[in-house]
Amino acid sequence: MRKRTQLVGFEFGYWKHVQYCAEFIDNALDAIEGFQWRELEKLDSKIKFSLDQELFLEKFSIVETAKEEKKTQHLNNEAKHTLMQELGLESIESEESIIQESKEKLEESGEISEKEELEVEEEVKRIIDDMQEIIKPVENIIDVEPIVIVRMREFEAPSFLTSEISQKNVMSYTFEIFDNGTGMSKIDLRKFGKYLASSKSLELKQTRGSQGFGAPSAFSDAQNTTGKPVIAVSKSMDNIYATVTEFFTTSKNEKKYLIHPTDIDSAFLHGTYIKLNYLNVKYIRGYVEKYIEETAFMNPHITIMYIDPYGKEKMYRRLASSFPRKPKYAKSHPSSVNIGDLQDLITKTEKKTISSFLQDNFVRISPKTAREIVDKAENDLQDNLKLLILKDGFVTRTQKHTDKIHYFRNEKRVYGRSDKPRDKLIIYEVESDDLRKKYWDLISKYNTFDKDYEKINKEIKKLNNRIEKVETKKEIKNLEKRIKHFLIDIEGIKKEKENIKDQLNILFKNVKEGLIELKKFKNRSDFEDLVSEVQISKAKPSDLTREQFNSLFLSFKSIKYMAPPTDTAIPVGDSILENTLIKELGLRISENLDDFDIPVDEISQTSSILSEEKKFALEKEDQKVKEEISVDYGEIADLDSNILANIDIKDDSLEFQQFKQNIDEILIIPEDDSIQSYSDVFEYFIENYTIDDDFVAAETRDPTSGKGLAYVVEAVMAYSKNIEIPKRSRDVLSRFVNRTPKLRDSADCAITKAVQSVNWKNYNLDTYDNSLPKGPIKLLVNVSGPFVHLMFKSQSKNALADDEDLIKEIKYCLEAIGRKLRIYLNRRASIHRTEKRASLIEKYIPIFVKSLYNITSKGDGKYGRKVAREELEDLMKNAIGRKPSPIVEEKIQLEKPLVKKKEIEKEEPKKIETKEVEIKKEVIPPKIEPIVEKVKPKKVIYSEKTLNNWTIKELKEYCLENKINISSKVRKADLIKIIQESFKEKPLVEKPITEAVVEAVKPEPRVISKPKTIQKTLPLITTERILEVLSGEWQTIKHLIFKLKIKDMMDARYLQLKLKELERKGGILVDLKMGKKHWKLK
């Protein structure tokens, strides 16, 4: 009785565990999404998942909590049991026997099981207890967080079950799953477990499962192997009580209840709980775990908890704070429909006409196209059935001169029982030679058109074949032109045919003589059928003949349609994917991840900021020279941007030395100083963009629609030292279709093929023999779309079929990620070089310091014996990898007000000592921690985090600068609070950039609100001052820079311009010595 065919095969093996998980988790996720989408549509839903809160499950454990629960409950239960037994209310028999017994009863009584009410009640209680075990621990979040709980338990299988099975090591498993999705009403629950009862199959939507085969197949497998019933508890929003049932499914696709739907109290507002038992080979870790993990990767909007048969828990907390959009209901696109689909749809439809059927069932079919399809089909039919439709009648089409010609038309006649005239099809035979001759003239023309048409079609085919072979675009264009001509010819033929039909109509319309009415014609019914058959436009879709259907399909397929809409495919989204991987894999990603692509832009921004600043300074200080200088200034800006544009930071395969050289070459300014400062800028940038981070990049392509299927391809890749290099190539790539992991048949899948088609070596990645990428990477590829089931190779839905467009799309997606990866890997290589450098430098420190110490301790220098060797060594060690150069620092702080560096305070060696000890623990503290916030030049308000990173001294300095009153002895936390309050008080701190710039260039001490300014005063470069420092002796610009105390490259440049100007005016003498300009006073 329980033997049922399984539409989805379940076979003994490790994969069976996964199959169970897959079928039910997919359903659970769909249910949760369905619930949320429905609630989101309501304007003021109070029960939707809010998702704003962060979910923490660090120390959470269902097993532990359940154990504790049990401790308290156990006694109660025990007590109850004994009490009941004493009272004789409960049989001492085991659960097993009850079921056995009940089954027997079932077999006898058929539909309804007649358990004693008490027994039912007991059973229900047991079910609830089981369910509570996994639900109770999450009770407080059960209605606010989307959650799926899966529990598997292992038992020794009874020998009578395993004796027949040839497999060894077979165990019995209890599989439980709970989701707080939409839940089922009593009516829905009744259908649950039947094949093709899925509510999802009604609409074509991007869902995980859609056919309604999975769960029922699982049920039947469960029953078939263990003989135990399936338990389902479900509650939908609209019901007050949850419904519990226990049932078998039958081979008649019906259900047999052990427990009829019974109302119970439930701990959840909505959701479903399913419990079933199955036999399988012993569970091995690694299969189900992987499936669940991958599911969690792609579904970060839902919390998934899994308890394996040995009590190990896996928690995948919700990481995304938003749900994916609801996929739109999608109709099929004509070009993706095959003849079977059309047949299927046509037999099911209730529409009255073909035209409305087409419009209703497919996307991109307007009334006009529908008519076009029908017309085309009709024309085709006319030719096939040799019956032409005229305006007022029908005429047979003859091939030979001598053939009989029949003409039909509807005439109002009184016939049958009614005495009112009604339309009746009258069949005439054409007799008169005149008519016959005229008819033949026309019809022979018509026939020749047919031949022409065939010829043209052949030609077009030939041309199409040639197009495929031809390579140059010109020739292709030529051929296409010719095809177009032919198509125009075809149109002409069609018109001509219509013309002839019109003429034929005129010919027969009003003719009365020469036509003989065939009253008692043997084949009358045949002709009647023919007439109705040829009129496909009037036919009912559900009763089309084979001829009609073929013609319809032909015309349906021959018409060009607009590409399907792409809003039906919903991707996960690249940022969500990235974040998920970061959190799940524990990747170290600094905030300048975003800067991966655009360092060059940012530098040129710097220069433009600086330029504006300079301009302001000039305008302020010297109105007269304003015009000239601003012109010259353009040159500087050009120069700067040229320099910057020419240096490809992205491709830093260059060694730094080379890099420097590059800059030297590009830089026209002869001063060594400026070269130095520029190269320092770059060094700084390189260091900051190449912090030893892990890598993660996701790419979501725009939705595409190839061959009538709308789909989205997305991929995410992580590269981290923490990821082990997979030994098997298939472990590198995780494939997903509609967020569902696909673990099997990887070699066959289009995704795998696409990944293999990428030349990973281009992106500095090693590959396996089968050209899958190799390395400490994780690669996830997801293809989403409403018609994805059409793209599978087989019903098992494990591999996507090859499709040129799909593979191309995935390839592009991966290549985009590859490009980012290459940048990252190059940077990492350069970091390794820096690290190597650090260790090398470190090696020399003790030797250097020893020498230094020996000298100073023997001599009578300033320091003498006061120097401690260790101290010096530490100082130097800590300086490794830090960028010095106050000149550069000045600039960088300008463009990034939030930059903060670990700097050692200068005048307080004592304080350093304590600090050093702390840092010393890390042997190499080389990199600047990525405290570089995103560049937000306008924002001056610091986050608490930033403030926390400052030392007290810096904070105090900041307070002083911003005139925030503080007492001398405050704690750091308090200090931060005060500062933050000051932000609230003075929202005006946020100044527009120009203002800040003006402030920055004022010749007075700087008041820019940043914790550290190295150059407190900006030298004022005026003509007077230049003349002041110039003397009777020849001096190079270096001398002048020194005398003017210039520390900024831009100022130096400005000085140069000033000097040129003075030269022009003849105020000073200039001479070229040793390739350098020297100046002196006249």
Binding site: I841, Y844, N854, I855, G859, L872, L875, M876
Partner: protein, 395 residues
Amino acid sequence: MAKKEKNDKKELKAARELFNLYLQKEKEEKSIDLPKGTVKIDDLNRNETLERLYTIVDNTITKIYNTGRPSIQLPARTSSNIIWDEENDLLLLGEQIVEKQFHSLTSVADLTRLMRVLEIVNELLIKDIHATKREIFYTDVKLFTEQKNSDKSIEDVAAMLYTTRNSTHIVASAKGMCVGRLRIRDRNDIIDLEGLGSGGWMVSPMLDNIEIIESDAEFILVVEKDAAMIRLAEDRFWKKYPCIILTAKGAADIATRMFLKRLSKELNLPVFSLVDSDPYGHYIHSVYLRGSKRLSYESPFLATPNIKLLGVLTRDLDKYKIPEEVRLPMKPMDVKRTKELLKEDFVKKNKQWELDLSLALKLKKKAEIQALSQHGFEFLTNTYLPEKLTTGDWI
């Protein structure tokens, strides 16, 4: 032979004229005014050197305290920073300065070695002893790995202190030899260079211990090679013609050059050089003349700008009928060197020299001093030198 005995002693007219000219000028001490844009290098005594040394060390420590990133500035010794002083015919160091950063992969080893050498120099100065370059290399083979590294650091240290290498008490093992009419004092020993038999006095690297007492020589003859030196010594050339003969046995080392400089400066004698007639010989002459590029900063203390190139000149080959078989063909390397020499400013300035080198380039021939022996072993001492010195046939 008879011929030679007849003209036994030449007058050396030209040489004597030059000698007299120098005598008249007497002690017209030319104080060298360094041109602008060049660095002044001082010959310092112990304490001054130490003082400079401590200043640098103090600055370095201060830097470490401030930033943790020590660096040392020293004058660049690249060719672009070497300036030829036309007026004094010297190679001098320009004002370019390189800053060597400790925290840079390229210079960390350099800087450490530099500091190590500085440490040794400090010790040498405090103890007032000298050490050779080789000795310094062996104090820390592990650090220096190769002697050229320690040599470079030694030169750097001197440049860094803006002083001569001698002031750092690091000496090069001198290979120079001197004989002739000269009496010197080495600390407590008085040495008469006339009475040293057929050998000679090895030039001491510790020249600050040497004091020149007296000499009645009329000129100084610098010989490139030991062989020629032996020839001259054997013939007691200085007996016949009052002179001091000096050789560095090949390329001139610092001590020899410095000794020559002192001789020429203190005795105010004309100086002639006798080198091979090949580009290398000319180069050796040029090193005596205006210093080597490598040690450009010490040029004022090493160069003898008034040295004259006596021979063997290319034009002498024909003039003295040197047979074809001892004239060697110039190798490509020689041609290249000659061309390079021709490009030098100091050659261009001396038209005769330029002419002679051009001639060599034209003939593509070179010859050693020994080629003169084709006319008999005594040809050099009896004929060639006296004749040339008499006629003033020098460059």
